[in-house]
């Protein structure tokens, strides 16, 4: 599959996904209602649902899916491993620990912003620890990075379990659902924060593309080609972690997007990061918008956690892609 205008396909994908997201949900509002509301009309309830509930969710899905896919691409380049994903280095367990602490101590009740804030702080702290551990003689050793991430995650998970076992039962329930990921309750305010954090970060990630291409040849060859290897690794790590952390803070843990999307894009359109990263940005957003629509679909009032949808759909789709795409 070559450059059959991949950007056109991806943009169309995003548009269709967004529309699907806007017309999905238990309220049964369709395209007609959407058009009416956009024109300024429509009844109050429809306006509330479309503009205050569904639209922010769709936008959040686009932003979060994009951020996760770019983050996954960055980590796959940094660790030179196609199985790398945004949560590998402690982002998710750090965030979960922050969230659980907030729930168990009751701080989460103080305001709607406490939970995301606590999650953000937790993930940044975990990333900081992993970064520190992987610094050997002033350089980032990527093999140690993976190990440090895995070990840190395991330790933090144990801490979380301990807290939940000793804490009140209500905290357990809230924590469990938080780890499954959810875009419910996302407001325009949170979208603004998401955009402010993730869009500039993504911009810098795109600029790193050439260096990432060189890095795929190995650190020595990359350095010989003029790449400041330590700076490139550090930048990839920081941006990738920041993108993952801000998404976890807002929506909890949403798996598979960060792993499957960049890998899928690579299988379809090659691994040149100048294309891989922007295309993953679009593809990730579309994928998550579809997943969110499915989570809210015609299943009645009950909502499926979005992490479940991404796993159930993402894995078979990815397996199909793997079988088709390994001919180069």
């Amino acid at each position: 599959m070559n450059s059959r205008k991949p950007y056109a396909i991806l943009v169309a994908f995003v548009v269709v996904a967004s529309l699907t997201g806007l017309i999905s949900g238990p309220a049964g509002l369709g395209l007609g209602d959407l058009v009416a509301v956009l024109r300024g009309g429509g009844d109050q309830q429809a306006r509330l649902i479309l503009l205050e509930i569904r639209a922010p969710r769709v936008v959040a899905a686009l932003l979060i899916g994009a951020a996760l896919a770019v983050s996954g691409g960055l980590f796959q380049a940094l660790l030179r491993n196609p199985l790398a994903e945004p949560y590998l280095l402690g982002v998710s367990s750090g965030a979960a620990l922050g969230a659980v602490l907030a729930l168990v101590t009751g701080f989460a009740a103080a305001s709607g912003a406490m939970l995301p804030l606590a999650a953000m702080v937790g993930s940044l702290a975990a990333i900081g620890v992993v970064f520190r551990v992987a610094r050997v003689a002033g350089e980032m050793d990527t093999r140690i990075l993976i190990l440090a991430g895995v070990v840190t995650s395991a330790f933090l998970s144990a801490c979380i379990t301990l807290l939940l076992v000793l804490g009140p039962a209500e905290a357990l329930r809230s924590a469990y659902f938080w780890t499954l990921g959810s875009l419910s309750g996302v407001s325009w305010g949170m979208n603004f924060i998401l955009a402010v954090y993730s869009l500039p970060a993504t911009f810098f990630a795109f600029r790193l593309a050439r260096d990432l291409n060189a890095l795929s040849l190995g650190e020595e060859a990359a350095s010989a080609l003029g790449t400041d290897v330590e700076r490139a690794k550090r930048t990839a790590f920081v941006i990738g972690s920041l993108l993952a952390a801000v998404t976890v803070a807002v929506a909890g843990i949403i798996g598979f997007v960060g792993l499957v999307v960049p890998h899928g894009v690579r299988l379809l359109w090659g691994g040149d990061h100048r294309r891989l990263l922007p295309m993953s940005f679009l593809a990730g957003g579309g994928v998550l918008a579809f997943a969110d629509a499915a989570a809210r679909g015609p299943w009645g009032p009950v909502e499926i956690p979005i992490g479940v949808v991404t796993a159930l759909v993402g894995v078979p789709f990815f397996l199909v892609l793997l079988r088709r795409g390994t001919t180069r």
């Binding site: 795109f206 790193l208 593309a209 291409n213 350095s223 010989a224 080609l225 090659g270 040149d272």
Partner: protein, 263 residues
């Protein structure tokens, strides 16, 4: 554009013996030097110090009088190209894009390659006889073709100096000869300074104006091929008895002798 080592010593962490000890070498512009020596002599280490990829414990490597590690990697890469014999497998990429990576030191994140950049890549592909393979995937190339592709990538950097670590290690007799011949041609044509680490005594003697013999981190001999590649020097360096034969026009051949046949 002079590259030199001044009093360079380097010991790898955890090892007793130094990898390089007090090495002084100057590489004049336009010369083709071969670095020869046994395994573990420090040849690759020496080349990497020259390329600014390793820092030394004592002394320094200098490009045009400035410490190699003080140059920005981009600026350095515009002047010095380093090609190693082993590399990690990149993601599937076409030969043309692979060679185009050599333009990285001249491009930054956003800028698309200019017509000039594309011209340099085509030139590199031409000179390494890879133009007909430009649209093939790197994964489908033979070892020899891949080695040429790496050389093309190095040429795309438009360097003044070319550092090659065992550039012909995967090549058979014919391809090895062709590679050395091409190097000599390019060096003359583009006025490149070439430093090649090699095991091949014959190729070194035929194509290189200067041979540096290294053993145990020290320079054993340094000069034109004939005076350097003597049985005594070679036996001392390789710790193995050798006989040499000089054939006019075909260079020097060194043949090892069985230890048992010598007293």
């Amino acid at each position: 554009m002079t590259l030199q080592l001044a009093g360079v010593s380097l010991t790898y962490a955890g090892s007793q013996a130094p990898a390089l000890a007090g090495v002084d070498l100057v590489f004049e512009p336009g010369t083709h030097t071969a670095i020869l020596g046994p395994n573990g002599a420090g040849k690759s280490t020496l080349l990497r110090v020259l390329a600014g990829l390793l820092s030394c414990d004592e002394g320094e490597a200098m490009l045009d009088g400035q410490n190699a590690r003080d140059w920005s990697r981009r600026e350095f890469a515009r002047r010095v190209a380093f090609v190693s014999s082993e590399e990690e497998n990149p993601f599937p990429t076409r030969v043309r894009d692979y060679v185009a990576l050599g333009r990285n030191p001249y491009l930054d994140g956003w800028r698309a390659p200019s017509a000039e950049d594309k011209g340099v890549v085509t030139f590199a592909l031409e000179r390494t006889d890879l133009l007909f393979l430009a649209d093939r995937y790197v994964g489908s190339l033979s070892a020899g073709e891949l080695q040429r592709a790496r050389l093309a990538r190095a040429l795309a950097q438009q360097p003044a100096i070319l550092l090659l670590d065992e550039p012909t290690v995967h090549l058979d007799l014919g391809h090895e000869f062709a590679a050395f011949e091409m190097l000599a041609q390019l060096a003359g044509e583009l006025s490149l300074t070439v430093v090649s680490v090699t095991h091949n005594v014959n190729m070194a003697s035929r194509f290189c104006g200067r041979v540096v013999l290294i053993a145990a981190g020290r320079v054993v001999a340094d000069g034109a091929p004939e005076p350097v590649l003597t049985p005594e020097n070679l036996a001392r360096a390789f710790d193995w008895p050798l006989e040499t034969f000089v054939q006019p026009g075909l260079g020097i051949v060194a043949l090892p002798v069985s230890r048992r046949s010598r007293p």
